[in-house]
């Protein structure tokens, strides 16, 4: 058997070691570029978003001026005299809250049905359906909202004696957003429910709990952290959504609107207004709204993550007193968290109580 040419191998190896180094640096370089996209994005949005308060613009009435910062923060109307953003922030939060009220229960129940109740084939069919829903583009949801949901809301409101402007309303926006976030939340919930340990489920069933009691009390509790992650993603999608919302919400220029049948506008829907025509201050102010949008997303993410930690590790703090109401009686429980085993036992007792 031939052996390799010694010198050639050594030469080869040295060359390869050099290529390795170069390629490694290339990969690192590309990775740094990919990671710096977000820094670059935030920098430019903030840089341009400050402009309306600093630069001088020629306004529509011919005078020169800029946007008052305080007016921007507290303004309740959006127009040439003052581009206020407070009402937009409130509207955005309100519409997102409404959509979450619709989407969270629907998603959780759907994911329980798919993973725990439906026979395997039906579950697969439902899951595939939801995957398709997740990949339907937002503009098609907007089209569906305009073509189906708005007329529906209009007729419904007319039925109870309320005039709407063709169905364009807060509730239409909330429904469309809910439809868009349901697939996201459901898919994440399915994964986290599937990863709940079988021994929990078997333990609960062995204690005489019915299947549905197990699903709602044990499985859901085990999957809580995953489900909240799904909710974070879903709400993120709802907050950042622009095209679909701008088509169904009615684009009001003042607010805030709390009437669910009234027209409203969100940060994103205002950003989509007058594209292709707007110039100067009315165009640049969008970037300031962009800063507000990113701030809201970050704050909501932080809050939800805090809630997630609170729920998944509720007894992290020592000497915590927990009060809860059951069958009309207020119970007080004190946890003196000296060591973990104690805590677990208490938990077990509690679960048993519930199952009785």
């Amino acid at each position: 058997m031939k052996t390799l040419n010694e010198e050639k191998v050594i030469k080869n190896s040295n060359r390869k070691a050099m290529i390795d180094k170069i390629v490694g640096f290339l990969f690192l370089f590309v990775c740094i570029i990919s990671a710096s996209i977000i820094i670059f994005t935030i920098f430019f949005i903030i840089y341009e978003g400050i402009n309306p308060f600093v630069n001088q613009y020629t306004l529509d009435d011919g005078t020169i001026g800029n946007q008052n910062f305080w007016g921007f923060l507290t303004g309740l109307s959006y127009g040439e005299s003052n581009y206020g953003s407070l009402f937009l922030v409130i509207n955005t939060l309100y519409v997102t809250l409404l959509s979450a009220i619709i989407s969270i229960p629907v998603s959780i129940l759907t994911s329980i049905f798919i993973t725990r109740i439906a026979p395997k084939i039906i579950g697969e069919v439902f899951k595939t359906g939801i995957e398709i829903l997740a990949s339907v583009p937002s503009v098609i949801y907007g089209l569906f909202g305009m073509g189906v949901i708005c007329p529906l809301i209009r007729d419904l409101a007319y039925g109870i004696g309320i005039q709407t402007s063709g169905g364009l309303s807060v509730i239409s926006g909330a429904i469309v957003l809910a439809m868009m976030s349901i697939p996201t939340i459901t898919l994440v919930s399915i994964t986290s429910i599937q990863s709940v340990s079988k021994s929990f489920i078997e333990g609960s069933l062995a204690l005489g709990a019915t299947n549905s009691e197990t699903n709602f009390k044990v499985v859901l509790k085990g999957a809580t952290s995953g489900i909240i992650s799904g909710i974070i993603l879903g709400i993120g999608r709802a907050l950042g959504e622009a095209t679909a919302v701008s088509l169904v919400i009615g684009n009001a220029f003042s607010g805030p609107t709390f009437n669910i049948f009234g027209i409203s506008s969100t940060l994103t829907s205002i950003m989509m207004l007058g594209i292709g025509e707007a110039t100067g201050l009315s165009y640049d102010i969008r970037f300031s709204l962009g800063i507000m949008l990113m701030l809201i997303i970050v704050i909501i993410n932080l809050i939800l993550n805090y809630v997630k930690n609170k729920i998944t590790n509720p007894f992290k703090k020592e000497n915590k007193v927990l009060a809860y109401v059951k069958d009309g009686v207020i119970y007080l429980k004190a946890y003196f968290n000296k060591n973990k085993n104690n805590d677990n036992e208490e938990n077990k007792n509690e679960t048993k109580d519930e199952n009785k």
Binding site: M1, L4, V9, N12, S13
Partner: protein, 252 residues
């Protein structure tokens, strides 16, 4: 011991993972055309020590090696590791042929060295498969996917692709722990066959296996080399109390 030619000579080797010392001042010689077995309880550093011989530890972060490992008188810590690994082959615990044809698996290392002559490659491929006692089983299906082979066949294929580079030393890291007894005995037979051409260092957690196939045995414990001797002598008259306890099964 004196009549044997020394291939590897380890002198005062220390190895650290971060601040933790994993190998403590180890010195030993590995002899040519012999099978040397490393035994010891799990976590004693025998696999880590094995991976020093072809510098696979370079890939692990925070891993620092001090001391000397001489291959034919040359310190391998100063040699280009890519070159070193063509001289010192390695077979892993899990049989892990690449998901490509059997033929391509065997010639993978050669192709990386830039050999393109098809006839030459085929020759070496057949030769390596012959040496690893696999040729009769795969002669007809060299172009088939290697993942279709059984576990034992996959492990022998891994040995074949190692031999194809005609290394001096073959390192084996518990090569039979993932295999059934029949496949294990085949591999052991193969190892006895291979030591005519190659020097073999094998890590095993199975003392019977060490007695069956090895000429020398090194016993490790907690990063120390406790005892190193000819296999018969090591098992018949262990010098150290710890070796004695281990052999008699007081701990494992």
């Amino acid at each position: 011991m004196e009549e044997n030619q020394v291939v590897f000579s380890v002198k005062n080797l220390n190895l650290y993972y971060g601040d933790k010392k994993a190998l403590n001042n180890i010195s030993l010689d590995i002899y040519k055309n012999k099978v040397t077995a490393f035994i010891g309880p799990s976590g004693c550093g025998k696999s880590t020590f094995l991976r020093c011989f072809n510098r696979m530890n370079d890939l692990i972060e925070n891993c620092k090696v001090e001391g000397e490992i001489l291959l034919n008188g040359k310190n391998i810590l100063e040699v280009n590791p890519i070159y070193l690994r063509t001289k010192v082959g390695m077979v892993f615990q899990q049989p892990n042929p690449f998901p490509m044809s059997i033929y391509n698996n065997v010639i993978y290392g050669l192709k990386c060295q830039g050999i393109k002559n098809k006839k030459e490659l085929m020759e070496i491929c057949i030769d390596s498969l012959e040496k690893s006692a696999l040729i009769n089983e795969v002669k007809e299906r060299l172009k088939d996917n290697a993942l279709a082979l059984s576990g034992g066949q996959q492990q022998r294929l891994c040995i074949a692709r190692c031999i194809a580079l005609s290394p001096e030393v073959i390192l084996m890291d518990e090569p039979t722990s993932a295999l059934d007894p029949i496949a294990t005995s085949k591999i052991e037979e193969l190892i006895r066959e291979l030591k005519k051409d190659y020097t073999i260092i094998i890590v095993t957690h199975n003392m019977q296996q060490a007695t069956r196939i090895s000429d020398y045995t090194a016993f490790f414990m907690l990063g120390d080399l406790v005892e190193y001797n000819k296999t018969e002598e090591f098992f018949a008259h262990p010098q150290d109390k710890r070796s004695d306890d281990y052999i008699s099964g007081k701990f494992s």
